[in-house]
Amino acid sequence: MAGIAAGGGRRSPVAPYLLVAPGVLWLLAFYVVPTVTLARTSFGPADAAWYDGYQRAFTVYGVHLGRSFGYALAATLVCVLLGYPLAYAIAFRAGKYKNFLLGLVILPFFTTFLVRTFAWKTILNDGGIVVQVLGTIGMLPEEGRLLNTVWAVIGGLSYNFLPFMILPIYVSLEKIDRKLTEAANDLYCNAGQAFRKVVLPLSMPGVLAGSLLTFIPATGDFINAELLGSPNQKMLGSVIQGQFLQVRDYSLAASLSFVLMVIITIMVLLYARALGTEDLA
């Protein structure tokens, strides 16, 4: 405070605090207070050990935990593999159709998440065309169907979060100065080397941002698992919902929420560090 007052000269020393006040109050009311309440709930009723909820979170629901991260990782990978080439094509090759194509990427958002996921139920129907075609070429999973299988869940997650991957990658590719690839070519890089040594590293912040925007919500998602999966594909989000609203075991539900939050945070930090762009995370 003293530092600001000394350095600020004529400026009012309280002005910066007033400016951040709305944001701080917002976070206090809608983030800090609920989080503290949730933390207290997670330590459970007086008649059980404080770690009881956490213990059960790992012992009873370890499978769901692993599944949530597994599916989210798979979906993120699919999104990178599908999203990167698409973003690349839009940024470098689309020419005057760039905005139109970007519009197409955003278009699904005009319909709600729920309806779009439900549409997949119809598409992947047991008697539907997709199952018939895959059946004919012998590509059906062992269950002999697509709906209510792990493939449908990962597919649904990938489909729903794909735009969140494409847009940040597109933005980072779009920002790259074309002269850099020209320079790489002048220095005897072929197209592949120029991409690997220039474009790809420069677009990594986009890949990082896209992966976080895909991975984090996909981990907590339960609509896809619920609509497109079977009970053997239940993710942690459904368990938390069920524990809060059906069983009303609040301490377990709160513990599960915390475990999910902490693991996601750790994974995100490690990921950001590995990509060397932690200042962007």
């Binding site: 309806v115 439900f118 709906l147 009970p231 609203l245 059906q246 069983v247």
Partner: protein
């Protein structure tokens, strides 16, 4: 439900709702919307006690697809009372989780009638969350069928009256099964692997499985529940049971994604118009009977208006009109005669007019005390992988 032109504008809404099932839809939307109902309940609580309404208005919470489109306008025209009818009860537990806190503190939940299944109605009454129904405004209460006038959770029906009763048994698609079904054991026939669903409503699914094991759900023990849950879990993990649903199984049954389901009688009857193949049976071992009951929350200041609405619905002709669209079992005497006039085919349906041999096989799940209820729930949620 039968197709009705006035439903068309709600088509999309209804589609999603059915897809997600009446038992689950609200949970999702409410979670997405940040618990709007609860929020508004809290807000109105902050404003303090509401002033008496200038316009006479009664606010009703019921399950989706549980009324016909004409009853509410007819009621408003006949009584001059405005009725705000909301289909926001989709799961007993979820509804309870939303209103428990405000009711505990004596705050308004902005509802004058809520419709809940027997066991949850019992919990509401036991917790003191309801008020007595003003009998002066409800002379038609005399029309309540005899076998429902006295129930364990509400002797003499001082705090509750049934809205509709229904049965949980087995629904199937003969085209997919290739044969007629008769028994609970058919749910576990290896031929139907991956083509079976059960209900998330614990008492219906667990009760039916217990009946299949030769146990009586009306007098079951924790050991019976443990055994039945173990069986469900085993078949869930092997992939035999494809899912646990609210009434969204109906769409999958019609589409052929599943062949057999633990199903509610009214759903199958409702689908019969478009899918005449679908069947519902009360298995030879027995089927579950439940009622959904109208209650007046203790915080409602419009009990008289609520009773007026109940009175209206307890006129045989009016109840018949509801049954014609929502084909469950009416608790009102004399509905059969009225139904013959407006929907003769339905009036002879065994799902609406239950024959004596089926009646004899129906069971009501026993009343569970709190600790037992939590234990059964824990076992069941574990079994269904929730």
């Amino acid at each position: 439900m039968k197709k009705d032109p006035s439903y068309s504008e709600q088509e999309l809404q209804a589609m999603v709702r059915r897809a997600l099932s009446r038992r689950q839809f609200l949970g999702r939307t409410a979670m997405a919307a940040g618990g709007l109902t609860l929020g508004s309940a809290f807000l109105s609580a902050c404003k303090g006690k509401e002033a008496a309404p200038v316009v006479k208005e009664v606010r009703i919470s019921n399950w989706p697809l549980y009324i016909d489109p004409k009853t509410i306008p007819d009621f408003e025209a006949a009584t001059g009372i405005k009725a705000i009818y909301t289909e926001d009860v989709n799961d007993n537990n979820e509804f309870f989780a939303k209103v428990d806190e405000p009711l505990k503190r004596g705050q308004s939940i902005d509802r004058d009638i809520v419709v809940l299944t027997d066991w949850m109605a019992g919990r509401f009454i036991k917790l003191g969350y309801t008020q007595a129904i003003p009998v002066a405004a409800f002379p038609n209460k005399a029309n309540l069928v005899d076998h429902l006038t006295n129930v364990g959770f509400d002797p003499g029906r001082a705090h509750s009256v049934p809205w509709m009763s229904g049965m949980a048994g087995i629904g199937y698609n003969p085209k997919a099964t290739g044969r007629e079904l008769t028994s609970v054991a058919d749910l576990f026939d290896p031929k139907f692997k991956g083509k079976v669903t059960m209900l998330t409503e614990m008492r219906d699914t667990l009760g039916l499985v217990m009946l299949g094991e030769g146990k009586d759900p009306a007098a079951c023990t924790t050991a019976d529940a443990t055994a039945a849950c173990a069986k469900i879990k085993q078949y869930r993990e092997s992939g035999h049971i494809r899912g646990f649903t609210g009434n969204d199984y109906a769409e999958d049954l019609a589409a052929g994604n599943i062949a057999v389901a633990v199903a509610w009688s009214g759903d199958i009857q409702g689908l019969a118009a478009d899918n005449p193949d679908l069947r519902w049976i009360a298995p030879k071992e027995g089927a579950m009977l439940y009622s959904d009951n109208m209650l007046i929350p203790k915080t409602s200041d419009r009990a008289e208006l609520a009773a007026t609405f109940m009175n209206y619905c307890y006129t045989p002709a009016h109840s018949a009109q509801i049954v014609a669209t929502a084909p469950y079992i009416s608790p009102v005497k004399g509905v059969g005669d009225e139904l013959v006039k407006i929907a003769p085919a339905l009036a002879s349906s065994p799902l609406v007019n239950v024959p004596a041999d089926v009646s004899a096989r129906l069971r009501v799940f026993k009343w569970l005390e709190d600790a037992e209820d939590q234990e059964f729930n824990r076992l069941f949620q574990d079994a269904i992988g929730a």
